[in-house]
Amino acid sequence: MHKNIILQYEIEQWLYKESELLDELNFDGWYELLSEEISYTMPLRINQMEESKPDYSEATLLFDDDSTTLKLRIDRLKTDMAWAELPPSRTRRNVSNVKIKEMSENEVTVHSNLLLYRSRSTDTTADLISGQRKDVLRKENGDWKLVSRWFLADQTSLGTRNLAIFV
């Protein structure tokens, strides 16, 4: 039990740290948290009858990235021509309901909720991206690294102008 509480604490702190780095636009710092083997995907939420669940499609991905393409996105944000985030949106990532689903010696599967607030330009209406994360973290050289992130938004038609931000 004791061990599990410590692990829960460690993983929560990792997720908060990650949010902080992204909210502060420290993308290089964020990239450091990722394993080289990262798979970063976001399936499409769809309207389905209860009996036809799951109500998402993995045939359509809104993010379909690995470490190379994530690096590309970060490098792009650093050019002075990435207009979608110039000036940058203000974002607040609220991570909650953190549940460790599986664990082994050096790997955990963790589910959490993400409520991402995005304020862009002079907009007075805020964009909210709400959804579920399923992450796999692995201990690499003593540090937890993100090996896989799967994010499923709650909207079928996103109420934000683009996904120029990370989820």
Partner: protein
């Protein structure tokens, strides 16, 4: 002391329909390259667009590969109206008004699926996927002999198919799809008839506080913005720097349809080599010659379809992607973008996977090309809402390329200009738009 100014803001909302039409004709001057700002957000203009364009034109609703089997359906929207596109039990495609004929409930609330029947959530009227009404709860008790089910089927919307694209129109008197598309078909062949194509998954959807017209306007003529709007991509070395986006042709084929064809492709053929025989068999020799040299192609089918073929180097491999999107109006100053990705059905799984990935990375909701366009659409639309723009009749400049001569020796149909840095297609698009919304 009081001062009284003689300045006046034209009150479009107080004009009669014919005064409004006259005002539009007086202020929108496509041939002079003068497009007034107010048209990008004014509610009165939007009302006309809905009525004269979106209730009249042929609109894209689905690709045939989305409903391959009997019973398959997708729900879509056209002209603000939900429709169900089914592969009926009779083997035919049906586009059905998603409105129960009893008392108007939305019959189907799912994005897709496979069903023989649709049961209304309100009182349980039951319809076949062909639209026929087949069941009414307690029919004998509640109607006696007075209800004729055969007259109460779902309203069937007129549809037609070209290159596996299912179009529908809410105007029973509209010209045929064939006539509506005209010469743009030659180019649609390059996108959707070059090989058997299939949609991957379902469309991604996202919402932008910008008018649908800016999407179509950008699609039909704007290769010029690539240098700056998408400058970050060149900085990353993903596309050449400088004027790479200039080379090729700008082509207008009538009825508001046109394209920008980027060629030659300095990087070589970006389609699966294994499908060359299929391409050759399905395309004319001239079309195949164009495909061989194509770097990209951006087609606008009026009013609001964008078709894109684009090629890039991803993970050390040359790869092309094909997509179709609609700029769906959701209000005078807002739209929903839906975007479908298509692949060659007979390509290898590996090639399909990379092509999808290239799409997601560049032109999906998170696409690194895509993102920056939405800034332009949003801010132009929001600017145009100020009454100051009406008061001063602020107009935008669409005169680029007026000094250019058409080329006569291009193999494909249409009015053709060499090089893509030109606003001729936008002038033609807005002429068509103006004629449509001011038609009596």
């Amino acid at each position: 002391m009081t001062t009284t100014s003689t300045k006046q803001v034209p009150r479009l909302d107080e004009m009669t329909r014919s005064e409004l039409i006259q005002y539009l004709k007086d202020t929108v001057k496509p041939e002079e390259g003068l497009i007034p700002s107010y048209i990008f957000s004014h509610p009165k203009v939007y009302e006309l667009e809905m009525e004269k364009i979106f209730l009249r034109d042929w609109l894209f609703v689905a690709h045939k590969s989305e409903i391959p089997n009997k019973g398959d359906f997708v729900t879509r929207e056209m002209g603000g109206q939900s429709v169900i596109v089914t592969h009926g039990a009779d083997g035919e495609i049906h586009v059905l008004l998603n409105v129960c004929t009893h008392r108007g409930m939305k019959l189907c609330r799912m994005d897709n699926g496979n069903q023989k029947n649709f049961t209304c959530p309100y009182h349980g009227f039951n319809f076949k996927n062909t639209g026929d009404l087949i069941g009414i709860p307690f029919q004998k008790v509640v109607y006696g002999d007075t209800m004729d089910k055969s007259k109460m089927g779902l309203k069937e919307i007129r549809h037609a198919v070209y290159a596996d694209l299912i179009f529908a129109t809410l105007d029973a008197d509209a010209v045929s799809l064939d006539e509506f598309l005209g010469d743009i078909k030659w180019y649609l062949d390059l996108a959707f008839n070059r090989a058997e194509m299939e949609v991957v998954g379902l469309p991604q959807k996202w919402n932008v506080d910008g008018t649908w017209k800016l999407g179509s306007d950008n699609t039909i003529s704007d290769s010029y913005h690539t240098l700056v709007s998408h400058g970050s991509i060149a900085k990353l070395g993903l596309v050449p720097t400088g004027d790479y986006s200039k080379y090729g042709y700008q082509i207008y084929t009538g009825n508001g349809h046109g394209l920008n064809l980027g060629m030659p492709n300095p990087d070589g053929f970006a389609f699966p080599e294994s499908l060359i025989d299929e391409y050759k068999e399905r395309l004319s020799k001239d079309q195949y010659d164009i495909l061989k040299q194509m770097k990209n192609m951006i087609v606008c089918v009026s009013p609001n379809i964008m078709i894109l073929i684009s090629s890039m180097d991803l993970k050390g491999q040359k790869i092309s992607q094909t997509s179709l999107r609609i700029w769906k109006p959701t209000g005078p100053d807002s739209m929903e973008i839906s975007s479908w990705v298509l692949v060659e059905k007979n390509a290898t799984e590996e090639w399909k996977r990379l092509s999808e990935q290239a799409f997601t990375l560049t032109f999906g909701a998170s696409g690194i090309f895509e993102q920056d366009d939405t800034e332009n659409f949003t801010d132009i639309t929001q600017n145009s809402k100020s009454p100051y723009h009406l008061q001063e009749n602020i107009v935008f400049n669409y005169t680029m390329g007026m000094h250019q001569d058409q080329v006569e020796d291009f193999v494909g149909p249409g009015i053709v200009y060499k090089d893509k840095f030109n606003e001729a297609n936008s002038r033609a698009f807005f002429r068509n738009w103006l004629d449509q919304i001011t038609a009596e």
